[in-house]
């Protein structure tokens, strides 16, 4: 079988699985740090119990995030050696900086946090949690700068038959990366908030530890409502930038075939890649795509047909991923608004609580779709406009990759099932009852 295809599948499986666990390490870590700070400030036992309960969820999740992250770094070498040799001068240093500057801090201090309750003062222990959370987010910064460079390469020159660094500052201030970073961090907070609110809703429906879970729900709600609005506004800015630097991705996102001004968005469409058109288009809103891409209803938007066939991303996947992500994002905003107005009457809002409970998986889907959009929409390039994915794979045998691909799917499938089972068990059991005072 084809090494490129297998390697792509393997990388997709490994990254998408890894990213099931990353958002909580970004968002929930911060929320736990806030709870522990509240405990230190007020001395109120309930915040300690919150820190421990939500913290444990974070830890189960963290273990899976770490171990699945290690394989990603090495896969550039094992499966994408042509890519690594060609762009390592820039890309490799970003990964190395991530490990040195951020990941070390996060991993070392998390161990201290888990085992250091009696060894450190309360205050020092809370500071350790803050450092863990900040280091996790700092990690995301460097990884996304690296990904941002693949999306929109800057600050390099072609020399000695490879891409070499020319301007480090340009690489780390890449606008694409910055927009992508905030989009990802915001999404991670949405996911964390929904998880906390969903689990709290479950217990509130059972009238279990009402005080504990009402407070947890409300804390998560504050993070969640800010994050949903933030991601929507920021996502809009991101869209404008994509239309500027990755016009083929924009066209594929909306299955937009013909170059046109006042380009529409169709409420419903079925793309037909073979015949380069949409076989069905219903509910077209003229000018909306122009507005989305350029903040101008009359702007001209390049259609897919203006790109050679071998420079277009797969339309179906890009199109569906974008719709799914935006649709879910809109839903998140609505739910958050309703929850905000019912925040002091949660027990009297069983329907809302049920909705929150069953919404837990949705941000996971949205965040994965977002990455599918970013990565599949970048195709056929591994580095946009600079290197094709088909030129990037290692000179290894397809059978080798097939074996490890199967290994990844089986191992990750089992571990993922167990990890989520443990999180489910812990969430369902709830925190230890408060000590009788």
């Amino acid at each position: 079988m084809d090494v490129v295809l297998l390697s792509r599948l393997q990388f997709a499986a490994a990254t998408m699985f890894h990213f099931l666990f990353v958002p909580l390490t970004l968002g929930l870590s911060m929320i736990v740090a806030v709870m522990e700070t509240k405990y230190v400030r007020t001395g109120d036992e309930i915040y300690l119990r919150m820190t421990k309960f939500w913290g444990k969820l974070f830890l189960i999740n963290f273990a899976l995030g770490v171990v699945t992250g290690i394989t990603l770094e090495f896969q550039f070498g094992t499966n994408w050696s042509r890519y690594s040799a060609y762009v390592g001068d820039i890309f490799g240093s970003l990964l190395a900086i991530e490990a040195t500057v951020a990941f070390f801090l996060e991993s070392t201090l998390l161990g201290v946090w888990i085992f250091g309750w009696e060894k450190l003062s309360k205050k020092a222990h809370a500071i350790v949690m803050w450092l863990v959370a900040l280091a996790g987010n700092l990690s995301a910064l460097w990884i996304i700068i690296a990904n941002g460079w693949m999306q929109h390469p800057v600050g390099y020159t072609i020399r000695n038959g490879r891409a070499e660094l020319l301007d480090f500052v340009a690489v780390v201030t890449n606008k694409f990366a910055i927009l992508q970073l905030f989009h990802t961090l915001g999404a991670a907070f949405i996911l964390s908030a929904f998880l906390m609110m969903g689990i709290s809703a479950y217990h509130l429906l059972k009238k279990n530890q009402v005080d504990f879970f009402t407070k947890s729900f409300q804390i998560a709600l504050v993070f969640g409502i800010v994050a949903t609005f933030f991601v929507a506004i920021e996502g809009d800015m991101h869209g404008v930038h994509v239309s500027e630097v990755q016009p083929a991705k924009l066209a594929a996102m909306e299955a937009h075939w013909e170059t046109a001004s006042r380009a529409p968005i169709h409420m419903f469409a079925i793309p037909d890649e073979e015949n380069e058109k949409n076989s069905i288009e219903i509910g077209s809103i003229p000018g909306l795509l122009s507005f989305l891409g350029y903040h101008d209803f009359d702007a001209e938007v390049r259609g897919l047909k203006s790109f050679p066939k071998d420079q277009r991303p797969p339309v179906w996947i890009t199109f569906l991923a974008f719709r799914g992500m935006v649709g879910l994002g809109t839903y998140f905003i609505l739910v958050m608004i309703v929850a905000w107005f019912r925040r002091n009457r949660l027990l009297e809002s069983p329907l809302l609580l049920k909705v929150m409970l069953f919404s837990i998986p949705l941000p996971y889907i949205a965040i994965e779709l977002g990455w599918v959009l970013a990565e599949v929409g970048r195709q056929p390039w591994i580095v946009y406009g600079l290197m094709r994915t088909s030129d990037a794979a290692s000179p290894i045998a397809g059978s080798q990759v097939l074996a490890t691909l199967i290994g990844f799917v089986v191992l990750y499938g089992l571990l993922g099932a167990m990890g989520f089972y443990l999180m489910y068990r812990h969430a369902k059991k709830g925190p230890k009852a408060a000590a009788a005072s």
Binding site: K52, G55, K56, L59, A63, L64, V66, V67, I70, T71, E73, F74, G77, T78, N79, S81, R82, S84, A85, G88, D89, I90, F91, G92, L95, A96, I97, E98, A99, T100, V101, F103, F104, S107, T108, L110, G111, V112, I114, F115, G116, W117, K119, N160, L165, L166, F168, S394, P395, I396, Q400, T404, G407, L411, L415, M418, G419, L422, R425, K432
Partner: protein, 342 residues
């Protein structure tokens, strides 16, 4: 020294630090089914490395990342030609990491048994394969001008590769047993102490065999013969190894562990110094070999990364030493009673 040579040295140093730190927890994981007799003892063993293994493993990520940043061609060719071996190591490390976290989360003997096996397999495999991989690098790897590997996983399991694997395994086992003597008490500590003592003799024999075999299987000694001063590296390794014996006999466990750490670093540098300037030699034709000079990044990247590493690696060392110092006391039943404990 030029930039490339500095980076060659740093590259070796980061791998050495990885072996030095993660070595003891890989060793404990391998000793785990043999030394831990009861569930309580097993838990003490895991909790003795619990706060530290994760930070240790980041040295691997950093060593890999720095290989990528400073020597991209080496990173590309090394990891694609050692594809299967590296993937086995990664799968093992994944299994091991989650095992620590999962094992205590469900109170059932069958559940714990699964993870006990996983901890052993997940520790033994990397401990052995890292040694196999590095011994093969010392010897040269069959890859061509295009970086295409002409061999299989079995090619790596040649006699010299295997003795390298056994050497690493023994170094890590001794390192792990010594760590246990620091953090445990009673029977478990006595067993760990005895084990460390036995391993020491085996290690000595294997180390001597390895040094002799190296003369015939590799060109490492060429550098030593042209720069005899380099012999201080294996001398340090030998002194540290003897030191371990004496300190262990005295019951100075922490210091014995530190000399064992020094042994690991010196052993790694014994190979690194012999390799220079090769990072990844080809056994097909020396012309294909990847060196610090033909496989490095641009001077700008090397300079920027040097600044990053010179600032941050000392900072990392400071807080890791702080973390280690927090957790060199005995693991007690109270520690095991924590909700968060493994």
């Amino acid at each position: 020294m030029d930039l490339q040579a500095i980076w060659f040295f740093l590259w070796g140093l980061l791998w050495a630090l990885f072996f030095m730190t993660d070595g003891f927890d890989l060793g404990i994981g391998t000793l785990y089914p043999f030394i831990g007799k009861t569930d309580r003892e097993k838990r003490i063993m895991i909790n003795s490395l619990g706060p530290l293994w994760d930070g240790n493993e980041v040295w691997l990520i950093t060593a890999g990342g720095v290989t990528f940043a400073a020597f991209p061609t080496v990173y590309a060719v090394m990891f694609s030609s050692l594809y299967t071996a590296l993937m086995l190591i990664l799968f093992a490390l994944i299994l091991r990491g989650v095992s620590f976290e999962f094992r205590g989360k469900v109170d059932s003997p069958a559940w714990r048994k699964i993870w006990d096996t996983a901890i052993f397999v997940g520790s033994f495999t990397p401990a052995l394969l890292f040694g196999v991989a590095f011994a093969n690098i010392f010897q040269g790897i069959p890859f061509d001008r295009e970086g295409v590997y002409h061999g299989t996983l079995l090619t790596l399991l040649n006699p010299y590769g295997l003795i390298g694997g056994v050497l690493f395994l023994l170094l890590f086992l001794q390192h792990g047993a010594l760590w246990l003597t620091i953090r445990t008490t009673g029977d478990l500590q006595q067993r760990a102490r005895k084990t460390a003592g036995i391993i020491w003799w085996v290690l000595l024999v294997v180390a001597v065999l390895f040094l002799v075999f190296t003369k015939f299987a590799t060109g490492l000694y060429d550098n030593y013969i042209s720069h005899p001063l380099l012999f201080f590296i294996p001398v340090v390794a030998v002194i540290a190894l003897i030191g371990t014996r004496l300190l262990l006999a005295k019951g100075a466990f922490l210091n014995a562990w530190l000399t064992s750490a020094l042994t690991i670093v010196a052993c790694t540098f014994f190979g690194i110094a012999g390799l220079f300037p090769n990072l990844f030699p080809s056994s097909l034709n020396p012309e294909f070999s990847l060196t610090a000079y033909n496989a490095s990044s641009s001077p700008l990247t090397l300079r920027i990364m040097l600044i990053v590493v010179l600032i941050f690696i000392p900072i990392v060392l400071i807080y890791q030493i702080w973390a280690y110092r927090l957790f060199t006391d005995k693991v007690t039943d109270k520690d095991l009673a924590y909700e968060e404990a493994y």
